[in-house]
Amino acid sequence: MTAPAPLSHAARRHLLGIQGLSPQDITALLDLAEAEVAVSRQTEKKKSVLKGRTQINLFFESSTRTQASFELAGKRLGADVMNMSVASSSVKKGETLIDTAMTLNAMQPDILVVRHHSAGAVALLAQKVACSVVNAGDGAHEHPTQALLDALTIRRHKGRIARLVVAICGDVLHSRVARSNIILLNALGAEVRVVAPSTLLPSGIEQMGVTVFRRMDEGLKGADVVMMLRLQRERMEGAFIPSVREYFRYFGLDAAKLAHAKPDALVMHPGPMNRGVEIASEIADGPMSVIEEQVEMGVAVRMAVIETLLDMAGDDR
């Protein structure tokens, strides 16, 4: 796999993507997140390491769960957290992005968590502000904390990532989750597969470090992890699939298809799910599903990321 080198970034100050992180960086974040899980399970859930620090969640694209997860993560670390939702309709494209960045920068936050509908937008914003920036999803580019929480979930169940067979299924074309996961899982030595109709695969996918399948039964055969992607119906500007009915028939995860995976396989989904579209309810709620646990791991991973970035920023001062 040769992901382009220019994507590397100032990994020590920002988390803009999984690209640019070393396997050691990733493992260190997962290890710290493991400790944060314990914190979140205590009755007293609040640490004071970020007392007096300010975290702003800036979401140009609406998201209930990711924003809540980051908010909780910041608060459990003791930071003051402010949420700013900028409705896409009122956004005058990037002009406002830069303007917003400058405005927020003047408020002296310590960390900005940013989601934007356009690939590269978070990196652009990061160039304009003095604080640390976490990418909470930029277009179809990356969603690094999702990949980290997925890895943490897998590791807690399987004890490792290396040599596991992970099948990522569905709308890879529009999925930042898929890109971040492909990079992370490869970095930690997993065997990564993607399963999708060709209309939902990006150009050059064969060179992205994955094996490509167009049939679920083949792609899931012997898989340790089945990672479903949300069918981004809101991004389907054209006819990528003929109908939801046909999509579910061929690519929706049901018991018959899942039977091809290993008996102890994990079923994952980044949420929010389209039940009956990419995943059957009985599977989503079934014994192999770790979807709820992913949500819990999300808070822990985000705590680890925020704490690490602010530690490093502190070191630089």
């Binding site: 690939a119 590269g120 277009g139 179809a140 150009s203």
Partner: protein, 435 residues
């Protein structure tokens, strides 16, 4: 403004590079009344004219002033981006002495009055020669053809939809058929907007990693093949304005082998850069057509060498910084290029890809021939449009030096060898480098 100098002017001991007659030799250029009266190793056989001003050209190359056949300007309607005057200053600094301006202004250059406005504004404010191109269809709406005959008679040198591509093949056919009667050149950028969809860069692995929607090669090739078939049907003079793919060069070469009156151009961006240069979402490198794979860049260089591609253009396209400082997919496409056309093209000479005469030809004699101009040459009788260049002088192109009103250069902070030291238009110095 382009009044002829009163006194004769002599450029001595310069390396005269004149592809119009295959000349590359040290010699002298003698200029009187704005025209070249002698040039070459033996130009002083008649003796130096009395009272002549002398420019010592030792160590410098004297090239015909460049003819840039694809320049977007903001005037009229977008003067905040570029005026005819500011574009002409940028051109002069780049050794470009003639520019063909694109018609997609506001209002559109689609009738004689607007074309005359451009020519008049140029006469009053520009220090280089400005030749307007006119639209193929009224208002660039793709419905009714413009008055090709009247516009050509008024001085319009070519017809093009600018950034746009016509999609109605019946209309293209009729325009080509009609244009042929006037021997008019139809210049067309071929981009199938429907096939490109929301694409913003070359489709492929790199775009996929960046999470950006891609533009497939076929979006350029399919309309190009259609046009070439219609050019064969109508026998009109057809110019593929800006090709960027090895496959496009192949179909142009095939059309040329059939004896069609077909020519092709490439932007200097597509000769010097590839998609990897976009790096981490550099919006100044969002171009149309998009920067392609390195294989395609090399194919463009090869096609230039073998004559499939006839001309290099800057495709100078000034855009507001505000329209460029956006997430990649939301940024305007286009880059300025008048000041970097020559130095960027000279890279091909310095790395040994192309001989100097051929590179210079593609920016002088070849575009002059395409547009029917008596320029792009240093032969006696021609207007004294000349660029004096230190071919080896290194420099870094910084934002502070940009003369264009817009600063969206694809070559910001690029290192070049080959600096323009003086530019003459009709014998008059319109640019002189500092120091």
């Amino acid at each position: 403004m382009i009044a002829a100098a009163n006194r004769p002017l002599v450029i001595e001991k310069a390396r005269i590079v004149d592809p119009s007659r295959g000349l590359d030799a040290v010699g002298t250029i003698v200029i009187e009344d704005g025209r070249i009266i002698a040039s070459g190793p033996d130009a002083l056989n008649q003796g130096r004219p009395e009272g002549a001003d002398v420019i010592d050209g030792t160590g410098l190359a004297a090239l015909p002033g460049l003819v840039d056949a694809r320049v977007f300007i903001g005037e009229p309607g977008g003067e905040h981006r570029e005026t005819i005057a500011s574009a002409s200053d940028a051109a002069a600094a780049g050794g470009v002495t003639s520019i063909l301006t694109m018609p997609d202004t506001n209002p559109v250059v689609d009738d004689v009055a607007i074309a005359e406005f451009v020519m008049r504004a140029a006469r009053d404010t520009a220090c280089v020669n400005v030749f307007p191109a006119a639209a193929l269809t009224k208002g660039l709406l793709g419905k009714e053809m413009t008055e090709i005959g009247l516009l050509a008679a008024a001085g319009v040198k070519a017809f093009t939809e600018g950034r746009k591509t016509l999609s109605d093949p019946a209309l293209i056919r009729r325009i080509m058929t009609y244009a042929r009667d006037f021997d008019a050149v139809v210049m067309h950028e071929t981009h199938d907007a429907a096939l490109a969809g929301r694409g913003v860069m070359n489709e492929g692995l790199f775009a996929s990693w960046l999470g950006l929607p891609g533009i497939p090669a076929e979006a350029e090739i399919i309309p190009l093949e259609r046009d070439l078939r219609l050019a064969a049907l109508t026998r009109c003079r057809y110019h593929a304005a800006k090709i960027s793919l090895g496959e496009s060069a192949s179909v142009v070469a095939a059309a040329k082998r059939k004896g069609l009156a077909v020519t092709a151009g490439v932007s200097v961006n597509h000769l010097s850069l590839n998609e990897n240069d976009i790096g981490e979402y550099r919006t100044y490198l969002r171009l149309s057509p998009p920067l392609r794979r390195e294989e395609d860049r090399q194919a463009m260089v090869a096609a230039l060498a073998d004559g499939t591609i006839d001309i290099i253009v800057s495709s100078h396209d000034p855009q507001d910084t505000d329209d460029k400082r956006r997430p990649f997919a939301e940024a305007e496409s286009g880059a300025i290029g008048l000041e970097t056309l020559l130095p960027a093209a000279l890279r091909l000479y310095h790395v040994g890809d192309l001989p100097l005469l051929r590179i210079v030809e593609t920016m002088t004699a070849a575009p002059a021939k395409l547009l029917g101009l008596d320029r792009g040459t240093l032969q006696p009788g021609a207007p004294a449009d000349i660029a004096l260049v230190d071919l080896d002088r290194p420099f870094v192109f910084t934002k502070d030096e940009i003369r264009s009103r817009s600063k969206n250069s694809a070559f910001e902070n690029a290192r070049f060898a080959g600096q323009v030291l003086r530019t003459l238009v009709a014998g008059r110095t319109v640019f002189l480098a500092d120091d």
